[in-house]
C-alpha cells in the first residue's frame, strides 16, 4: 500500500514537472511561403535564407525571451510557386500546423492568394510584392517589407535620363498582377518625365521572347524597362534584345536579381548599360551582416540582395513578438509592431510609410541604392535616402 502511494506521488510529480516544462516552453515557429521553384526562385531563396538566419541569430543571442524563457525559433518553408493558388495552399498548410507568424511571400500573385487565408487564420505577416494593394486597411495584420516602384522608380529613371538620351521606352512584364501593377506604375513615372511608353506583356512560362523582342524593336523604343519580370525571364529578354541590335539603356525597375540576369544573358557585356533598384547600399555595415551570416550559417548569404530586406523584416517581427510578449496572438504582435520605430542594427533608421499609397501606415522604408552598369562595367552603387511621407 505504502509502495503504491509512493509510486503515485512520484508519478504525479514527474507528470507535473512535464506539464510545467510544457507550459513554460517557448517555441516560435515561423512560416515561410516562398517561391522555391521556377524563374523567380532566387527571390524565394533569399527570403528563406534570411528567415533561417534570423531564427538562428535570435536563438544564439537570446533575442526572444518571453516570461523569462528564451524561445526556440524554427522555420517551416513551403514552395508557394509564385502563384496565388500556390501561396494560398502553402499558407493553409502552415495554418494547419498552428503557425501564426509569417515572413513572406514575395510576389504580387502570391500575396493576393496569401492575404485572405492569413487573415482568416489570424496570422501576422511581413510580405513583399509591388502590387498596388499589397497591404491595406482590410488586412491590419499584414505589413510590408518596403516600398515598391512608386517609392524608388523615379530617382532611378532620373539617373538614367542624366546618363542617356531617350524619349521613348518599352516596358515588358508578365501579364498578371505581378507584372501589370508594376509596369503601370513605372509607365506613369516615365510619362511624368516626358518619355513616351509602350507596355508589352507576356504569359508567365514563356521561354522564347523573340516575338516580343521583335515587337519592341518595331516600336523603336530607345530604352527598355524589364519591370518585375523574374530574373530568369529578364535574362533571356536581355540576351535576345541585344542580339536583335538594341543598344539603348535597360532599366530593371522591379525586384533585384542583376547577377542572375547577367548570368542568363551571358555576362555584364551583354547588359551593357543597365540600371536597377538595389535594396541596400553596400557599406561596412552590410558587409558585417554578410560576415555574420557566414559565421552563423556556415555558407555565403543567398545571392539575391533582397536577403537584406527580408533580414530586416524578420528581425522587426522578432522585436514585435518580444514587445507583445506572445508568440501566437497576431493582433497583439501587430499592435506592438506599429508602436516600434523602424530601425535595424545594420541598416540604421527608417520610416513607417504607406498611408498615402495603401491607406495604412504599415510599410517599412529604409535607405536603398541605385545600381548602374555602364559600358559593361559595374559602377559604384548610388546611395538613396529612405522614402518618407513626412
Amino acid at each position: 500500500m505504502t509502495l503504491g502511494l509512493g509510486r503515485l506521488v512520484c508519478g504525479s510529480l514527474i507528470a507535473s514537472a512535464g506539464l510545467v516544462g510544457a507550459v513554460s516552453a517557448c517555441e516560435l515557429k515561423i512560416g515561410v511561403p516562398a517561391v522555391l521553384s521556377g524563374p523567380a526562385a532566387q527571390w524565394g531563396i533569399a527570403l528563406r535564407g534570411a528567415t533561417e538566419f534570423v531564427a538562428k541569430e535570435t536563438m544564439e543571442e537570446k533575442r526572444l525571451v518571453i516570461n523569462g524563457v528564451a524561445c526556440t525559433v524554427s522555420v517551416k518553408s513551403i514552395d508557394s510557386k509564385y502563384s496565388a493558388e500556390g501561396a494560398a495552399s502553402a499558407t493553409s498548410a502552415l495554418a494547419a500546423e498552428g503557425i501564426k507568424v509569417i515572413i513572406g511571400p514575395v510576389g504580387s500573385p502570391e500575396v493576393t492568394g496569401f492575404k485572405p487565408v492569413a487573415t482568416r487564420n489570424r496570422m501576422v505577416a511581413m510580405v513583399n510584392s509591388f502590387a498596388k494593394n499589397s497591404i491595406g486597411p482590410e488586412w491590419p495584420t499584414v505589413f510590408h517589407i518596403g516600398p515598391g516602384p512608386s517609392g524608388w522608380a523615379a530617382p532611378i529613371i532620373d539617373v538614367g535620363l542624366q546618363r542617356y538620351k531617350f524619349k521613348t521606352a518599352a516596358i515588358v512584364a508578365p501579364n498578371d498582377q505581378g507584372g501589370t501593377d508594376i509596369a503601370s506604375v513605372n509607365a506613369d513615372i516615365f510619362k511624368q518625365r516626358g518619355v513616351t511608353v509602350t507596355e508589352e506583356y507576356y504569359q508567365r512560362g514563356t521561354t522564347n521572347f523573340a516575338p516580343i523582342v521583335t515587337r519592341i524593336m518595331a516600336s523603336n523604343a530607345e530604352a527598355l524597362d524589364l519591370a518585375s519580370s523574374p530574373a530568369g525571364d529578364a535574362g533571356i529578354i536581355v540576351k535576345q534584345i541585344r542580339q536583335a541590335g538594341f543598344t539603348g539603356p535597360i532599366f530593371r525597375l522591379g525586384g533585384p536579381g542583376t547577377d542572375e540576369i547577367a548570368r542568363v544573358a551571358g555576362g555584364l557585356d551583354i547588359l551593357k548599360d543597365f540600371l536597377w533598384y538595389e535594396p541596400v547600399y553596400m557599406d561596412d555595415n552590410m558587409r558585417a551582416l554578410e560576415q555574420k551570416y557566414e559565421k552563423l550559417m556556415g555558407s555565403v548569404r543567398p545571392e539575391n540582395s533582397d536577403f537584406f530586406r527580408w533580414t530586416f523584416a524578420a528581425r522587426m517581427m522578432i522585436k514585435a513578438i518580444q514587445a507583445a510578449g506572445t508568440i501566437d496572438n497576431a493582433e497583439k504582435i501587430a499592435a506592438a509592431m506599429r508602436t516600434l520605430p523602424v530601425e535595424d542594427e545594420h541598416i540604421g533608421k527608417g520610416y513607417w510609410i504607406g498611408q498615402k499609397f495603401f491607406g495604412i501606415n504599415q510599410e517599412m522604408s529604409y535607405p536603398f541604392a541605385i545600381g548602374v552598369i555602364q559600358g559593361g562595367v559595374k559602377q559604384p552603387l548610388i546611395r538613396a535616402e529612405a522614402v518618407s511621407e513626412k
Binding site: 521583335t214 535574362g235 542568363v264
Partner: protein
Amino acid sequence: MESFIATGLIGISLGTQYTLLALGFTLIFGILGVVNFAHGGFYVMGGYVAYYCNVILGLPYPFAVLMAMLSMAALGWLFEAFILERVIEDHQATLMVTMGFYLVMATAILMIFGAESPQFPFPVTGVWRLGGIYFPYANMIVLGACLAAIVFVYWLVYRTNIGRGMRAMSEDLPVASALGMRTKALFPFAFALATGLAGGTGALVTPILALAPHVGDSVLAFSFLTVILGGLGSVTGATCAAFIVGLIEAYAAVYLGGSKGALTLFALVLIILVVRPQGLLGREVRRS
C-alpha cells in the same frame, strides 16, 4: 516587311524545336500507347548533362550534345525496360508513372544544381543581319541540327527495318507481335529514341534560351499541344503541327502582343480540334 520575314524565321526556328520534341512524344504514343508526361524532364536533363559536360568538365560543346542525347536515350531505355514495361497495359498507371518520373527528375536537378539558372552560353556568338532582319548564328546552327535530326528520324522510321517494325507495331500491335516483332526490344528502343531526341533538343536549345529546372513544364505543354493538333501517333502530323504552332505563336505574338499571341494559338487549336477531333493527320480510332 522586314519584321514579317524576321517573324517567319522565329516561327520556323520554333517549329523545328517543337518538331523534335513532338516527334519523340508522338513516337512513344504511337508505338507504346503511352502519353509520356516525363518528356519535358528528359529535355531539361539533357540540357543539364550538356551543361555539366561543357561548362563543368570543359568538354567540347558538340561532344556535350552527343553525351546529352546518349545519356537521355540510355535513361529512357532503362526507364521503359524496368519501370514502364511493368504497367504498360494500364493506361492510368503509365500516366502516373511518367508523371512521377518527371517529378523525380525535376527534384533531382533541383537538388544537384539548385533552383537558379546556371550560365550556359552557346559557343558561337554573333548575329547575321540583312537590313532589319536578323538571325543569331546560334539559332542557325540549332535550326540546322534540328533539321538534320528530323531527317534522321524520318529515315529511321520510313527507311529501315527497325522503323518498319515500329510502324507495324503502331498500326496493329497484336498482328505485328504475331509476325515476330519483338516488343521487348522495340518498345525500349522507341522510348530511348524519343528521350534521346528530347535530351538532344534540350542540349541544343537551352544555351540559346535558358537552363533552369522548371523549363520542362512549358516544353511538355507545347509538345502535348503539337501532337494533339497533329494527331496523336502521327509522325507527319506532328511535324506539320509543330511548324503550324511555331508560326502561329510567332506571328500572333508579334502582331497581336505576347498575351494575345498565346490566346490566339490556343483558340485556334481548340477550333481545329472541334472541327477535327482526331487532329490534322490522326486516325479516328486507335486500334492497338
